[in-house]
Subunit: 349 residues, 4 copies
Amino acid sequence: MIDYNFASDYTEGALPQIIERLADTNLLQTEGYGTDRFSGEARDKIRQAAACPGALVQFLVGGTQTNATVIDAVLRSWQGVVACQSGHIAVHEAGAVEFGGHKVLTLPACDGKLRAEDVDALCRAHENNETKDHEVEPGMVYISQPTELGTLYSRKELEDLSRVCRKWGLPLYADGARLAYALACPENDVSLEDMAHLCDVFYIGGTKCGALFGEAVVCRDPALMPHFFTIMKQHGALLAKGRLLGIMFDTLFTEGLYEEAGRNAIETARRLKEILKGCSLPFVIDSPTNQIFVTMPNDLLEKVREFTLLTVWGPHDETHTDVRFVTSWATKMETVEAFGKKLTELYKS
Amino acid sequence: MIDYNFASDYTEGALPQIIERLADTNLLQTEGYGTDRFSGEARDKIRQAAACPGALVQFLVGGTQTNATVIDAVLRSWQGVVACQSGHIAVHEAGAVEFGGHKVLTLPACDGKLRAEDVDALCRAHENNETKDHEVEPGMVYISQPTELGTLYSRKELEDLSRVCRKWGLPLYADGARLAYALACPENDVSLEDMAHLCDVFYIGGTKCGALFGEAVVCRDPALMPHFFTIMKQHGALLAKGRLLGIMFDTLFTEGLYEEAGRNAIETARRLKEILKGCSLPFVIDSPTNQIFVTMPNDLLEKVREFTLLTVWGPHDETHTDVRFVTSWATKMETVEAFGKKLTELYKS
Amino acid sequence: MIDYNFASDYTEGALPQIIERLADTNLLQTEGYGTDRFSGEARDKIRQAAACPGALVQFLVGGTQTNATVIDAVLRSWQGVVACQSGHIAVHEAGAVEFGGHKVLTLPACDGKLRAEDVDALCRAHENNETKDHEVEPGMVYISQPTELGTLYSRKELEDLSRVCRKWGLPLYADGARLAYALACPENDVSLEDMAHLCDVFYIGGTKCGALFGEAVVCRDPALMPHFFTIMKQHGALLAKGRLLGIMFDTLFTEGLYEEAGRNAIETARRLKEILKGCSLPFVIDSPTNQIFVTMPNDLLEKVREFTLLTVWGPHDETHTDVRFVTSWATKMETVEAFGKKLTELYKS
Amino acid sequence: MIDYNFASDYTEGALPQIIERLADTNLLQTEGYGTDRFSGEARDKIRQAAACPGALVQFLVGGTQTNATVIDAVLRSWQGVVACQSGHIAVHEAGAVEFGGHKVLTLPACDGKLRAEDVDALCRAHENNETKDHEVEPGMVYISQPTELGTLYSRKELEDLSRVCRKWGLPLYADGARLAYALACPENDVSLEDMAHLCDVFYIGGTKCGALFGEAVVCRDPALMPHFFTIMKQHGALLAKGRLLGIMFDTLFTEGLYEEAGRNAIETARRLKEILKGCSLPFVIDSPTNQIFVTMPNDLLEKVREFTLLTVWGPHDETHTDVRFVTSWATKMETVEAFGKKLTELYKS
């Protein structure tokens, strides 16, 4: 019987405050498509939190949808988007970027991160390429914060990337599906304000960070994405009852709820890491956020899966497997402890 | 001050039962992407209600998204979708079908409806066209029930269309964004079961019919849309917390809630029609469902808009305008009466 | 046995001067992709003939390819192209524009032509449409000169269209697949220079007007189509041996060959019209160029088709059919006379 | 002054026999779009040469166009095409495959070739991937013979690839832009018949192998690419005067002209390789066909470029550059010798 679920950060519904707020506002009448007052207030709070008074803020439903829509809005038809090989858009979105007609130009990842120097080299090589007009032009850069491996760009790394991008005229876009978990991390030195000013577009993830669903796109200079509303509609990404997204983000950005949601995941992840370490399970990567990657002996894994949901990341060697544990805003510390107790027993036996 | 809002059927949140259910299940953990048990139960209830035990049932978030995804799943690259000129996909979806690479082949509408004979003539003309290989092949037929003008296909009309479609090998797809309002209508003789058997694919609208959002695609023969899950992902149409859709449709298909939601809209629309008639406002079209189209003198309209939200459909003549009133699952009879009182006063003065 | 072929204007190869020139230059070595000196010279001659010294001139292979590539280069993702219902892109190009992600917004045709007032009304309606952000924005206008029905825009009509397009900020694009036949027509008062200045982009047709193949795109302001070379490559529209196109257009624009090619088609068409009139065959439309549309009794048609290739345009009534005869740069006057003799005999018997 | 041009195999027009044949047939009238008798005869000759009596044979204009059109015809919307990282479609086609909505799934190249074991591993990994429904499905495999680096798949290698592809149900497609140069190569053991039977689709390159332009697609089982004619039209890849392609391929497949064209390139390449070797220029790769890759000291390169066109492939190290020499059907042995004399003088000085 499955007692523990560390498979992802979208296994529950939403923060109780959000459910309450949806219930309280349920029968109020509003206009549609995000033109309602809740969405207006949420936009204002986000602009303020990001210190971007003139930013375009739009709410979409999910991450793949947001990535595909933003990328399509920023790129021109002859351009592609640069991402690292492990980037979500490069692997896990069923070709949504290509469906929109654009190539993902991949670069090697270093701890799940794109390096400024690699982007610079790619752009220089393109510039110097005698047949560059026969190739896809790098048109923007995609990163995620935290990355798909739970790692974080430092402020210095983000500044470097931002500088290289501006040097080459490439908009920098950050996928913040798990942004709350970066912001709440003690190791993190990149603020929401930094995201807004070092990136050209980024999104604040709601789906994995306490909302029922929803991602808030923030674009410092609205001229970068003209007619974004219509492009959202064209992508099927415009929610009729946009108020739901407005209400959820308004709630998340009231009284520090978004940060609080993040903190819980980080604290429970920290404890889980101690437990895993105590069982001599080596970490695949040193991730400071809510995703934990460890290598497990296959026989132990088999027993653990009898009572736990986790994600198999891939085979490590013939007798070991790399697996991922994820905590979230909803993970209870007592659940972690109870799981820890069972795991430690198994380990000792 | 705006006291009355008849602008659309998505001005409120959701049926109270749905909010309650979301609250009750909020902290349960489930798997993602619609593989959870709530979604499973909702699928079973829908299959049973539609008498389609082997049907593919998938839940998407919104109408434009559903149309674009289904059409892309059914058509091959050289085909287009047949719709009437006033069809939602032909006008109001910002080119989402074309974004997916397909042409909308339009035919004249008769009371908002596509006629079987017109589809037959189009197919015959294509078949006999000496240069047909230079043209887009009709690959499926799109209708909506009720239509964009609130009218209904009769069982006879739907059977005729279905027969013509099968004769030419064209899958018939029905957009049921407001299906509850058709099903609840005394004039309607097309059951959910009929929809499932006369159409090849259709969707049961949730967004406008009592859910927070969501549309349930029903496809009698799953072989018609292979890899639909991946196509959903590619379209950004796969909700991470698919359980939300499952919970909502499970609730709607329990104890006749979906029908009940429909009935309220029909009853309030009926009363509103009496009021409008009493004020000598002529109907633009005879719609039996929850959308009411009347012609209003411009000076009256100006006054009405001071306290009412409604939709301007377009100019009628120099001194009159065609407008649309919409009721929904959430419209209260006392609101209709109060509005009626104010309108009648204006009319008499 | 088929003795006469009036089915199209691409039934032969090319003007003898073109074949000679290809033979003479055959073993010269040049660079590829239109960067050779022949293409350079052809560009200069076209810029001079069109009085457009700064124009972008690029050579593509065929008409559908040119339309799809230009339209994709001019439009942004949220826009569509306005055309009349009988426009080539709307009907005869297998959905190539939609394959590129764009909708064709159709307007009624008047003698195969788009009317300035209809474009103006469409743009005004879009501007005033309260839900315009949910619809495809008109992004450019497509016409053909001569039209698909062989008719001509007068200078006045083209000026009116151009004025309306500039008023609304819409680039005007003219498909000149048969432009030679317009230019050579005594009824025509639109010069090549007018085309270049009243339109924003147009193409000079080679395939149907004396070349083996090829269309020359002329765009007064190159900023309208940034990265057009790469977009051509992306569309598979960049010929490796671009020199072939350069040589052919250089030849066509030397010593008035393009006009001469046009004149032959017009003169032979004129004679053919006299013959058809002499046989009491009514014209479907009054076309001054090289396409002639007449209504034929079915029994006569059957006999004519025994020795003639022509195009069946469609049924006229139960006993008559509308057919099209086409002459070209290659049509010999004696062929027309010989056909005329046989037709007249049939008519008299 | 440029005396020698080894920049590519499309620097001249066409084999004299082809020019003659075009001249001879120039004023004959034929039907359009490849339905003419010349195209019919060319198809028959190709089917016979490839021992594929039931094959679909269609003629397109250029390589990028052919790749994009075939790939779009074979893949379904949720699939991508597997290619090696140096594959033409992966790098040099300006994103034409992505423009059609499909991802290129790249694998490492070994001497420019895809290895059967890598394709097998990719497919197995996809099959075993728990989240495979969120990823692009491998839908076909793309190779080129010879490869972009001038290397050849052996019969054994092609059989292995073919076996793996069939095991996983993936159509195997070979880009034969330079196929004549493979077929004429003594080291080659893959016949045209082998190509047709080990691949599911391939194309016989004309543009680089003696024709003015043109590529002949051969598909053993026409059911693999339904409605290919219309897909060609949609891609702007249907030549109005298809007879030109028919005439050229008919000529190439008469009296062994295609093989002969190939042989000249191989013989001149062989001699050029001796000369380069004599000047101690190391080969970057051991290519048996008409592309020769050598590393040159930068100061020598500078001098050589004063009188020679060649292709800079990329920097080798700080003082050396990798360059490509290409011979073709048109390269004269005396040109090679004259160039050799000048190069040897430079080398000795």
